[in-house]
Amino acid sequence: MHPLSVLVYMRDNQEKPFEYEASVTPPRGLFSRIIKRLGLEKELTLVKGNLKFFTALLAMFLTLSVFALIGVKHVLAKSSFGPFISLIFSDPGVVIKYWHSFTFAAFESMPGITGMALFLSVAFLILFIRLAAFAVERFFIVIKSINKQKYGHK
């Protein structure tokens, strides 16, 4: 190409570079969308971590609860707690009349440590079921938000 023809071209199209620059300007709201998406991805990673952690603890306390239940069953088989409690149903009047002796007899035969272990493990099991359920719910909310942002619908 002759240099003069280049000059002529540049003279005739001197406004075009500015038009090009205008065409690559990012769409309005892109930055906020990127930041929002980064936030969602960060939250997704966090929720995934939480889900793994709570699921592991849930499995651990489920196992502990089963062992505690077996332990309580074993201890109850050796203690007089069951027969004393059965008096409540067979002889409620006597239980009320001799409440002092009955209360002490029942408490003395109660498998306290094993019972406490069972209650604690079941309480933690319920807690971690709840936390895992919240994590699952949060996970699906984040996934839905990401899809909504990605496809712009749903």
């Binding site: 088989a77 050796k78 007089s80 002889d91 006597v94 002796s101 002490f104």
Partner: protein, 149 residues
């Protein structure tokens, strides 16, 4: 408010534990002290180790028992409990003894019958029964259970 409720429950539970523990320990001491007189021989291995002590397995229930009658005297029963501990039950005149719906007399109690007794401990390591319920024998019971040998 929840903290106050929690504290109240904690203190109540602790006080109840102390009261129950004190009575069990007192009865166990009296039971051990009188074992020779009650059962004609020493019983070894009292307060064997810390775990037994912590779990309270060395202490005997003082206000009642469930077990098999192994001896019937005039107004005394020797009952072997599920924990394999023999206890002497003193039957007072005003003690209420029931078999199913019937009220029975102390003379009607037989060896090998299963009973639940509640009462008050005395200083000789015996239980003065206020109420005795004769339980159905394992053959009568729909739920099988057996005493530890």
């Amino acid at each position: 408010m929840a903290v106050l409720f929690g504290l109240a429950i904690l203190m109540g539970t602790f006080s109840m534990g102390v009261a129950v523990g004190y009575r069990k320990a007192k009865f166990s001491y009296a039971w051990g002290e009188n074992y020779h007189r009650n059962f004609g021989g020493p019983r070894g291995g009292f307060l064997r180790n810390f775990s037994q002590d912590f779990m309270g397995k060395d202490f005997i229930g003082a206000h009642g028992t469930f077990g098999q009658i192994i001896e019937v005297k005039d107004f005394e029963l020797v009952v072997r409990g599920k924990d394999n501990v023999e206890k002497i039950i003193i039957i007072n005149k005003d003690a209420d003894i029931r078999h199913f719906q019937d009220t029975i007399q102390a003379e009607n109690l037989k060896v090998n019958e299963l009973i639940v007794a509640i009462g008050e401990p005395n200083d000789q390591g015996q239980i003065e029964a206020k109420f005795i319920r004769v339980m159905p024998s394992p053959s009568d019971s729909p739920v099988p259970f057996k005493l530890r040998k």
